[in-house]
């Protein structure tokens, strides 16, 4: 049975409330398959989230999220404030472990390994997953030391290796030209956009598999935002990128896939073009067209 006919069938027989819920559930189930079967070929799965529930104390913040994120693509999480998109992002490198009273059930498989396996070393996991935060957070050190930080904590002291990695990472983050003459100056002297690119350079210096970005451009002006977006498109070839954004134009410009969340639930997940041009669910359409949220 195809998706469309299933939805059409349920629409006809169920009361309005139930209809909506079933609609989204059916949609989610079907969406995953539909993304995997694109005309361009199949996506390789990088991250597989299975029935994830998250509670802050007694309050549930994420409801039964299931989602597959393909490798070497940009996946955007959109949705109004408080919908759980940042929380979900932080589940992917277990940053939520740092918050007291958090309880998570479900599975997150990265390269088929469950990262919530109690035997897994969180530190190794995080070394494999870079993260860029909403507010640029360079360490109060020199530019050089910021980029070399990940290597230093991994115990690498060879100056030659450090130099090489710093240069290639800064080049990778399109910051080399601006920073090469002031590598030993404080990172806090950089502009906001430069600081954010430095954070990206810092993240790619440890050669991660995945880069998580939590609204990386929300505090930047349009020009700096443009540079970050350009950079994200370049990085896509080598890294799987998951980006949380408030800015729907941004999601439309840079992402291949988009997931729309509302009140802790995944409402719709599809190719970005579909989400923006032809969403299946009314709520998504209202949100992306600016009618609510």
């Amino acid at each position: 049975m195809s998706n469309e006919s299933l939805i059409a069938k349920t629409k006809n027989v169920m009361p309005e409330e139930t209809k909506k819920r079933v609609e989204s559930e059916v949609q989610m189930k079907s969406l995953k398959t539909s993304i995997a079967e694109t005309p361009e070929g199949t996506y390789a799965t990088c991250i597989d989230i299975k029935k994830l529930n998250l509670y802050y104390g007694t309050k549930q913040a994420l409801y039964d999220i299931s989602l597959t994120i393909p490798r070497h693509q940009v996946t955007a999480f959109i949705g109004p404030s408080g919908c759980g998109k940042s929380t979900l992002l932080r589940c992917l490198n277990r940053m939520n472990d740092l918050v007291d009273n958090v309880r998570i059930d479900g599975e997150v498989l990265i390269d088929s390994k469950n990262i919530y396996n109690p035997e897994l070393d969180v530190i190794n996991l995080r070394k494999n997953i870079g993260m860029v935060f909403q507010k640029s957070n360079p360490f109060p050190k020199s530019i050089y030391e910021n980029v070399a930080y990940g290597l230093r904590i991994a115990g690498i002291t060879n100056k030659k290796i450090l130099d090489e990695v710093v240069e290639s990472s800064l080049k990778g983050a399109a910051l080399w030209e601006e920073a090469k003459d002031r590598l030993n100056d404080s990172a806090l002297g950089l502009s906001g956009g430069q600081q954010q690119r430095l954070c990206i350079a810092r993240a790619i210096a440890i050669k991660p598999e995945v880069i998580l970005m939590d609204e990386p451009a929300s505090a930047l002006d349009p020009i700096a935002t443009g540079k970050i977006e350009e950079l994200i498109l370049q990085l896509k070839d080598r890294y799987t990128i998951v980006i949380v954004t408030h800015n729907m134009q941004q999601a439309a410009r840079i992402s291949d896939l988009t997931a729309f969340f509302y009140l802790g639930k995944l409402i719709e997940y599809d190719k970005t073009r579909t989400i923006f041009m032809n969403p299946t669910i009314k709520q998504t359409e209202d949100y992306v067209t600016g009618r609510f949220g």
Binding site: N124, R126, F133, P138, K141
Partner: protein, 539 residues
């Protein structure tokens, strides 16, 4: 009605509040500057060679002395009576200071040739030179002054050599002798026959004793020459006396000095104050041991309190789980800051001195018990007591600076795969060093001025043996020290000659202020340096 509305309006606009806050600040400034002004004015004048006046009273007697102040009192009929306070010196023949009713003064004069002699005993002499005694032969008049100028430097030279020998070689010998004697006592108590070893020790003792005798002979020899001379002086009442040369510290003719000579004298006195030992139950001479003790104790305190406080704060701020226990600990730490300092002194005496120090003595110095080594007040116990006293300051300042490190920066480090320990060590600690330094600065300011707990944990009225010296093991943490704060208390309130010691109180207070300021400036410079380093440089 109208005026009430006006007042209301003024109140709502807050103009009155601006005035209130402004005047509160103004009052604070006046108080602080007033304090500094009083101390500076009173403290700075101590070393200036004041003019000496000759007072001839109507009843006959003549006095020479320094007019120190005037005051107006009620006379017997209830009228006003002005009187002078005059420092006449010559303590051996009466009071140092006297009061003189102004109406009784017949004439005042400023004799050019009046001399002030600073002496090792009996304080200053103020009077006239009448002769110079050489091997019992008297040289009168002007030649006497020339001879004094010639012979005094020789006598001072000899005195310096003597004290050098006493301080250096002879003290060294004394410590060695004590050690050998202790070993001998031990051997004598032993059950087996140790006569051979005892004989060996005796031989060593004899060598040391001979050496000591040689030094004693040399001191006698050095003292012989100055003892041949003496200055014959006449006080205002016409009594002549001989002041032996070794008793003279310094002399000057205050009414016959140019401004530059006076400045030079002032400089020499300041130098003596800063770098010499106290004389005459601390009312004269210098305060070098007290400066040394204050600075060393404060530094030792900082060294002790910083790691302790910082580690505690890191546990509280980074590792401890929020809860009732943490709250209780925080309350306890904050209350610790409010405990009266003498209570810390009592704790230091009971726990550190008698407990820890006594324990050390029983373990390592049992052979010289009951004479305590560590089991009595000393530098180390005073410093540790102060460290405990200033601990809350460091903990609170450090915790605040840890809390001020942005959460995002910590998360950034953790997201890079750093462990919590690495994050603390490489990100949080460097970022909070300036805050920690601020805590240490506050601790220094608090600790350097504290007196009460020190009185019972290691500060003495007189302790010229410094805790750092040339005798092995060079650092003697068990020794008692002198302290400027205690010095002020001792000189000002425990001295038999209160008038004479008053300027000393202010001068020492000024010095204490300067030292606390200097220690703070050093710490601030270090902090700014660190700030710059962690802002820009690699580490």
């Amino acid at each position: 009605m109208n005026s009430i509305e006006k007042l209301k309006k003024m109140f709502t606009r807050g103009e009155a509040f601006v005035w209130l806050t402004g005047s509160a600040m103004g009052l604070c400034l006046v108080l602080v500057f007033g304090l500094i002004f009083v101390i500076v004015i009173n403290g700075m004048g101590m070393f200036w060679p004041h003019q000496v006046t000759e007072f001839k009273l109507k009843e006959g007697p003549v006095y020479v002395g320094i007019h120190t102040r005037s005051e107006v009192v009620k006379d017997e009929q209830g009228g006003k009576l002005e009187r002078y306070q005059v420092k006449v010196g010559n303590r051996e023949s009466g009071a140092d200071f006297m009061w003189m009713d102004v109406p009784k003064v017949e004439a005042k004069a400023i004799p050019k040739d009046v001399i002030v002699l600073e002496r090792f005993e009996y304080g200053d002499f103020i009077g006239y030179v009448s002769g110079f005694q050489q091997d019992g032969v008297l040289v009168p008049g002007a030649d006497a002054k020339a001879l004094l100028a010639e012979k005094l430097p020789q006598a001072q030279e000899a005195f310096k050599k003597v004290s050098h020998i006493q301080r250096g070689e002879m003290e060294n010998i004394a410590t060695k002798v004590n050690k050998l004697k202790l070993r001998k006592d031990k051997l004598a108590k032993a059950t087996s026959d140790k006569s051979q070893e005892i004989a060996k020790l005796d031989a060593q003792l004899a060598v040391l004793l001979a050496e000591n005798n040689k030094h004693s002979a040399r001191i006698l020899d050095l003292n012989k020459d100055p003892a041949r001379y003496g200055l014959v002086v006449k006080s205002a009442d016409g009594v002549e006396r001989v002041v032996p040369m070794p008793n003279i510290v310094r002399y000057y003719y205050p009414n016959d000095m140019s401004f530059f000579q006076k400045t030079g004298h002032y400089g020499a006195k300041v130098w003596e104050f800063l770098f010499a030992e106290p004389r005459e139950s601390n009312t004269e001479g210098g305060v070098y041991p007290a400066i040394f003790g204050t600075v060393l104790m404060t530094l030792l305190m900082s060294v002790a309190v910083t790691p302790f406080g910082v580690l505690t704060a890191f546990y509280l701020g980074e590792y401890a789980k929020d809860g009732i226990f943490l709250k209780l600990v925080r309350i306890a730490v904050n209350n610790l800051a409010g405990v009266p300092s003498i209570v810390f002194g009592v704790f230091g005496l009971g726990f550190l001195v008698y407990g820890v120090g006594g324990g050390i003595d029983r373990l390592f110095y049992s052979d010289i018990l009951p004479t305590p080594t560590f089991g009595t007040g000393g530098l180390i116990w005073a410093s540790l007591t102060l460290a405990l006293l200033t601990l809350p300051v460091v903990i609170v300042a450090t915790e605040e600076s840890i809390a001020a490190v942005p959460r995002g920066v910590k998360e950034g480090s953790l997201a890079m795969g750093a462990s919590k320990f690495q994050t603390i060590l490489k990100v949080v600690l460097p970022a909070s060093v300036p805050g920690i330094m601020t805590g240490v600065i506050l601790a220094i300011a608090r600790g350097a001025g504290e007196v009460a707990p020190l009185m019972i944990t290691g500060v003495a009225k007189m302790a010229t043996e410094l805790p750092l010296d040339g005798n092995a093991p060079y650092f003697h943490p068990e020794r008692k020290i002198m302290h400027l704060g205690f010095h002020i208390y001792d000189v000002g309130f425990q001295s038999p000659n209160i008038e004479a010691s008053k300027p000393m109180v202010f001068t020492t207070a000024l010095l204490l202020l300067v030292i606390v300021l200097a220690l703070n400036i050093v710490a601030i410079v270090i902090r700014d340096h660190v700030k710059k380093k962690y802002r820009t440089g690699a580490f």
